[in-house]
């Protein structure tokens, strides 16, 4: 198999194949489920093979349809499809209780397909197209339960992300006006964008990755089924924002120091405000969602902490920051996916999301509780879980250039510990309230355990992911082609 | 200059007829006023060397249209004397302002003295008659006329034939 074919398969199998799932569902639900899993695993396998190949693959069949698989794209694609695969597996049982399953699988696989398209696209318009497809699918998925509140929240998320995306589109148009092309491979690396343009593009990124001031849709989206929230938070949606940030502002363009300051200020505010909100809110999924908002800010911190200078000590810090941010994407994805899937088990078995009315579940749900704790520890950055390394690296990179920002994020890290422990203790420890629910099904519990174990393994065996990330960063910064 | 006096007289009459048309309280008089306006327009069209259009105006606008309107008024207007008196007073109130507006507008237009110094296009050859023009140059309009008349005919059928649903 050639690399180009792998690339096509990774993008086209889930995007185009997803349309088959409703048909398959009419024949047999089991067939549909397996097909969905296969379609999610295809990009994983293809991306893994591309990673093994190690070459940057570019295909350009026509016009704006230009795909490129560099290390960054492959890395993101692997994370997304890996976590998505676990989520789809989890859905087999979770979603079997509800209506509209055909649409669910269609949208989930299309969602991932769009993500694949997005990460592999080398043309800004193509990227934008996939970007909006993810907005559409997330809209349908958030409103999955169809109650008026659900649909309202789905609309909110759709509107906010589309508003941001349109601002970004204006930014792209300005880029086109400035550079004469939207082909990322033809824009000279390190091009500096005017402030207005950078802000426009940033607005899209911030709205997608749920960062202040466009973040409130994400907690509201907690009305979605838990696998969907896991997908939104861990695998696909909010990661799109940070991926595009990396793709545009690390690989292609360069932020000025002033623009970096803006990003960092927004990220710092985002980290603190959402952490504060997570401390106050009482809805299990909203709290975890606020936690995502807060953690995404750390990713931005890593990306924007250092000027991307080549050579010297500055380069070391930049490598550290970008690498930390990429690792953060991986670690946060694994852990946050696990947290939401745990929340899904709790929610489905207790029919309750209010943490003040939960308690003592560790007695009946030991595996879920331990998995939750492990994932929470990873998010907090406690060794030996994977989150430790990424958190250290982003804070370290910030400390190199902007110690004050690093200090603010340290406060954010404090608050992470506080609110995650608050959730964990209120839900799983303490006095049981009412009848204790049963543990989830083997499949679902297995999925959360898998994610927790992966979080742990990612820390204990940090070497392989760190090597991949290191190579990716070197390529991103143009140090090694 | 005498010709221009005639022009002005015709214009004044035309405007007066139009005013009467819209300001009279009785519908039938209004329709008659419309016919009169059309007749005066016909005269003006003759004055402007457009006999065919004038004839058309006379036959259609002073004849057919008032006929249709009269029947429509007959079908709809039922009004007692009280109502009529009330409406007369209302009309007087509403249209008292109209002559003032018209006078002001006329004065303004005359005073404005819009420059009419643009070059006129070359006239077409003397051979161009209305018939040849219509047939040679305005075929599309003819088709349009046919279509619009057909549409109106269908409209009458659709709108008026049969009971309301």
């Amino acid at each position: 198999m050639t690399d180009a074919l792998l690339l096509y398969l990774a993008v086209l199998v889930p995007t185009l194949g997803s349309a088959l799932l409703p048909l398959a569902g009419r024949i047999r639900p089991g067939l549909r489920n397996l097909l969905a899993l296969a379609m999610v695993l295809t990009p994983l396998v293809c991306s893994a093979l591309l990673l093994a190949g190690g070459q940057t693959v570019t295909v350009e069949p026509w016009s704006i349809f230009k795909l490129q698989a560099d290390k960054l794209a492959v890395f993101m694609a692997m994370i997304s499809s890996l976590i998505s695969a676990v989520i789809v597996l989890y859905s087999f049982h979770y979603i079997s209780h509800y209506e509209n399953q055909n649409e669910y699988y269609f949208m989930v696989v299309l969602f991932l397909g769009a993500m694949m398209g997005l990460v592999y696209s080398a043309h800004l318009l193509l990227l934008y197209v996939f970007w909006e497809i993810t907005a559409i699918t997330s809209w349908r998925l958030i409103g999955f339960f169809r109650s008026p509140k659900d649909v309202l929240r789905a609309d909110k998320s759709f509107l906010v992300t589309v508003a941001g995306a349109l601002a970004m589109l204006l930014g792209f148009i300005a880029i086109y006006t400035q550079t004469g092309t939207l082909d990322l491979t033809r824009i000279p690396q390190g091009t500096v964008l005017p402030n207005l343009v950078a802000l426009l593009v940033l607005a899209g990124i911030l709205s997608k990755s749920a960062t202040l001031p466009f973040h409130t849709w994400l907690p509201d989206a907690g009305v979605a089924p838990s696998p969907v929230t896991a997908l939104l938070h861990a695998a696909v949606l909010v990661k799109i924002g940070v991926y595009v940030f990396a793709r545009l502002f690390i690989v292609t363009f360069a932020l000025t120091a002033q623009q970096q300051d803006w990003v960092l200020l927004i990220a710092a505010a985002s980290a603190l405000v959402s952490a504060g909100a997570a401390m106050i809110d009482t809805d299990l999924k909203r709290i975890i969602a606020y936690s995502t908002v807060s953690q995404i800010a750390f990713i931005f911190l890593g990306f924007a902490a250092c000027p991307l200078v080549k050579g010297g000590a500055g380069q070391e810090a930049a490598i550290m920051g970008v690498g930390g941010a990429l690792l953060y994407i991986l670690m946060h994805g694994l852990a946050k996916g696990g947290l939401f899937l745990c929340a899904g088990i709790v929610e489905q078995n207790t029919h309750c999301k209010d943490i003040t009315r939960l308690g003592g579940l560790i007695k009946t749900m030991p595996v879920t509780a331990v998995a939750f704790l492990l994932c929470a520890l990873s998010v907090m950055g406690v060794p030996p879980l994977g989150g430790f390394f990424s958190k250290y690296m982003v804070i370290s990179a910030a400390a190199a250039e902007r110690p004050w920002i690093a200090a603010v994020f340290v406060v954010g890290a404090f608050m992470t510990i506080l609110y995650l422990f608050r959730v964990f203790t209120m839900v799983f420890l303490g006095q049981p309230r009412g009848e204790l629910a049963r543990e989830g099904s083997y499949l679902m519990v297995g999925c959360v355990a898998l994610l927790a174990v992966m979080s742990l393994a990612a820390g204990l065996l940090i070497n392989p992911p760190a090597e991949i990330v290191h190579a990716t960063v070197l390529q991103m910064l143009g140090i090694v082609q | 200059m005498s010709a221009n006096v005639l022009d002005i007289a015709l214009t004044v009459l035309l405007v007066a007829a139009a005013v009467w048309t819209v300001s009279t309280a009785r519908m039938l008089r209004s329709v008659i006023g419309l016919a009169a306006t059309s007749a005066l327009l016909t005269a003006i069209l003759f004055r402007l060397d457009s006999p065919l259009a004038a004839v058309f105006e006379l036959s259609v606008c002073a004849g057919l249209i008032p006929a249709i309107l009269v029947s429509a008024v007959g079908l709809t207007a039922r009004m007692d004397d009280d109502a009529l008196a009330r409406r007369k007073r209302a009309k007087l109130k509403v249209f008292a302002l109209l002559p003032v507006i018209l006078a002001a507008a006329a004065w303004a237009l005359v005073r404005l003295n819009v420059p009419l110094d643009f070059a006129l296009p070359a006239a077409q050859g003397p051979g161009a008659t209305v018939q040849t023009t219509l047939w040679n140059l305005r075929q599309a309009d003819l088709v349009g006329q046919i279509a619009v008349l057909l549409a109106a005919a269908f409209g009458v059928v659709v709108l008026l034939k049969g009971k309301s649903q």
Binding site: - | L10, S23, A53, F56, T129, V130, T133, L160
Partner: protein, 106 residues
């Protein structure tokens, strides 16, 4: 344009504008649907006059007349349909007051 032509043009053009004003004034002030159709007719008079006037001024009577004839035909068609609508409104509401056509709002 010669002064003579300008004078004729000016005279009738002012007349046409005044008729236009009369028509609009009636259209806006009337409470009777048939009268509003009549107002439209008055407006059309003004336009017919303007077209013929333009033809006369540019010595293009043939063209202008053919346009005017077409215009008159269309005028009739529109009027017929308009009257048909009014009659239908009358047969359904028993009134031809303009307040019968003020129900679609917002």
């Amino acid at each position: 344009m010669t002064p003579q032509a300008a004078l004729i043009f000016g005279t009738f053009a002012v007349g046409a504008v005044l008729v236009l004003i009369v028509g609009f004034y009636s259209l806006l002030s009337t409470r009777n649907l048939i009268r509003s159709i009549i107002a439209l007719e008055v407006l059309t008079k003004s336009v017919t006059l303007l077209i013929i006037l333009a033809g006369y001024t540019t010595a293009q009577q043939a063209l202008a007349q053919s346009l005017a004839i077409t215009l008159i035909v269309i005028e009739v068609a529109v009027m017929v349909v308009g009257v048909g609508l009014v009659l239908r409104i009358h047969s359904q509401t028993g009134s031809i007051d303009t307040n019968t056509v003020e129900n679609i709002k917002g």
